[in-house]
């Protein structure tokens, strides 16, 4: 269980608080999307979670343990793929493990396994420049899996892709999650993407963010795109869009 309690956060040197007295609870094992307008604090939420920033007030805990004492619980996948151009695909994927000084052979084996998982077996000796945008994102995802956290923090991983690649990667990610024992927190701007992918959607509200509105997505574990046309789903999308609109005009 992931728990934010009365968290307040302001970037050092800045006047405006991003979070004020913000609380959040999320169960293990879910696929949770976070949406909110641009600049509302979604990326900041992830930065707090992976320890790049510390809240001025309040606490963030995982199963009751404060975050600074937890190690390797969260794996962060940034918006850009951030692959290192001087490393081969395999070496890029191995990076989080080699940093922890795990044995080379073990790292290589795990990396190959992950690359197979993301459908890039046979590409391990290539370099990032030889890959398409979608393939690079999948390498980045494989690298995130190799970081070993139970919680995956995915920050708009598909927003830079064309819509066809994007749709196929969404279906692919949903399928991955069905087979992984991981909790996914997924940031997106896109209401449709959030509905298709997640069990639960969190909308950050207020500026600074003081709370959130939760929505359950009434779709089964195995889903198809056609289900997005169901009337109850269409209504959910409308609700989300209306809420985001009202947030934007405030």
């Amino acid at each position: 269980m992931l728990c934010f309690e009365h968290v307040s956060f302001t970037y050092p040197g800045s006047e405006d608080a991003i979070f004020r007295d913000f609380s959040l609870r999320a169960e293990k094992g879910g696929f949770i999307s976070v949406i909110g307008e641009s600049g509302s604090g979604k990326t900041t939420l992830f930065r707090l979670l992976n320890g790049l920033e510390q809240p001025q007030e309040g606490s963030i805990t995982i199963d009751g343990t404060p975050i600074p004492e937890k190690k390797n619980f969260a794996s962060y996948m940034p918006q850009q793929d951030l692959l290192f151009p001087w490393l081969s695909v395999e070496q890029n994927v191995m990076l989080p493990m080699t940093i922890r000084k795990q044995p080379k052979e073990l790292c290589r084996k795990k990396a190959l396994e992950m690359l197979k998982k993301v459908g890039l077996a046979g590409w391990e000796k290539r370099y990032p420049r030889e890959l398409s945008g979608g393939m690079r994102q999948r390498v980045s995802f494989a690298r995130t899996l190799c970081a070993g956290g139970e919680l995956l923090l995915l920050d708009e991983p598909f927003s830079a892709l064309d819509s066809i690649t994007r749709i196929s990667l969404q279906e692919w990610l949903r399928d991955q999650w069905n087979h992984l024992e991981k909790t996914i927190l997924f940031i997106t701007h896109d209401v449709e993407e959030a509905v298709f992918l997640s069990e639960k959607i969190l909308v950050l509200t207020g500026r600074p963010v003081t709370g959130l509105t939760e929505f359950e997505v009434p779709l089964p574990r195995e889903r198809t795109r056609e289900m997005l046309l169901r009337p109850d789903i269409a209504e959910l999308k409308e609700q989300l869009i209306a809420l985001l609109r009202s947030e934007a005009t405030e």
């Binding site: 320890g51 951030l82 290192f84 990076l95 940093i99 990032p128």
Partner: protein
């Protein structure tokens, strides 16, 4: 076919320009007809050929040694300072202005002093070469290190990387293309300053030889060692370009 196109776009223009300039030079030299002070390219080539043994076997080795040792020393000092400055803001603040001051000194004017201190030794010449080249290396390498993508650094931190790991696996490779820029910039300087240092204090070497030929009013022989120096500089550049393509071909992807 593509080879021919590559030749046309890449090598033909400099060759044509070079050919035209050499032709003008030759024609002018022939017209003036005072070979001892204005030799043409053909006379220089001929004189180089006549002097080949003395130049290549006797004088080139010591010059080459000065260039290589001086330049390598400079690379060591230059990158070392850059790394120190990168790791400590205090050291950076301390060295920043001191380093600029070293660059305001004309090496040519101060080199005789090194000769007074150290005599006609290699040491005196090395100081001159290092002084003229290390700063460009420090500055470029430091820039390269500092400009490392913050997002990549943060990603490394989320993997639990320590300061040294971030340096070795991210910052150093990120700075490598800039280091190569500095290496390519400084190779010709090292060649020139090694020759200048030999002018001012040596009993051997291509620079020394050139100076001696001036007093003999042998214009073509003044140019002959310079021709060899140019060839050395060009060879050095070619080797560096090759190494850069192998080791830092990712410049555009940073």
């Amino acid at each position: 076919m593509t080879r021919i196109t590559a030749f046309k776009t890449k090598y033909a223009p400099p060759l044509i320009l070079g050919g035209i300039l050499l032709l003008i030079w030759q024609l002018a030299a022939d017209a003036v007809n005072m070979g001892h002070i204005l030799p043409g390219p053909l006379q220089i080539l001929q004189r180089t050929w006549e002097l080949r043994e003395a130049l290549i076997l006797h004088h080139m080795p010591s010059t080459l040694l000065t260039i290589l040792c001086g330049w390598l020393l400079s690379v060591l000092i230059g990158t070392g300072l850059a790394v120190l400055m990168h790791f400590s803001r205090h050291i950076e603040a301390m060295l920043h202005h001191a380093l600029i001051v070293t660059q305001t000194i004309p090496v040519m004017c101060i080199s005789p002093l090194f000769v007074l201190w150290l005599g006609y030794t290699m040491g005196a010449r090395l100081i001159a070469v290092v002084l003229s080249t290390f700063y460009a290396i420090t500055l470029n390498t430091f820039d390269g290190l500092q400009e490392t993508d913050t997002k990549k650094k943060e990603l490394m931190r989320t993997y639990g990387a320590n300061r040294l790991q971030i340096f070795l696996r991210l910052e150093a490779p990120s700075a490598l293309p800039k280091l190569f820029t500095a290496l390519k910039m400084t190779i010709p300087w090292a060649v020139v300053d090694a020759a200048v240092a030999e002018w001012l204090g040596a009993t051997q070497g291509l620079g020394y030889f050139s100076k001696r030929m001036i007093s003999k009013m042998d214009g073509a022989a003044v140019f002959a060692p310079l021709l060899i120096l140019s060839v050395l500089a060009l060879l050095g550049m070619a080797v560096l370009e090759l190494a850069e393509r192998k080791a830092a071909g990712y410049r555009s992807e940073l």
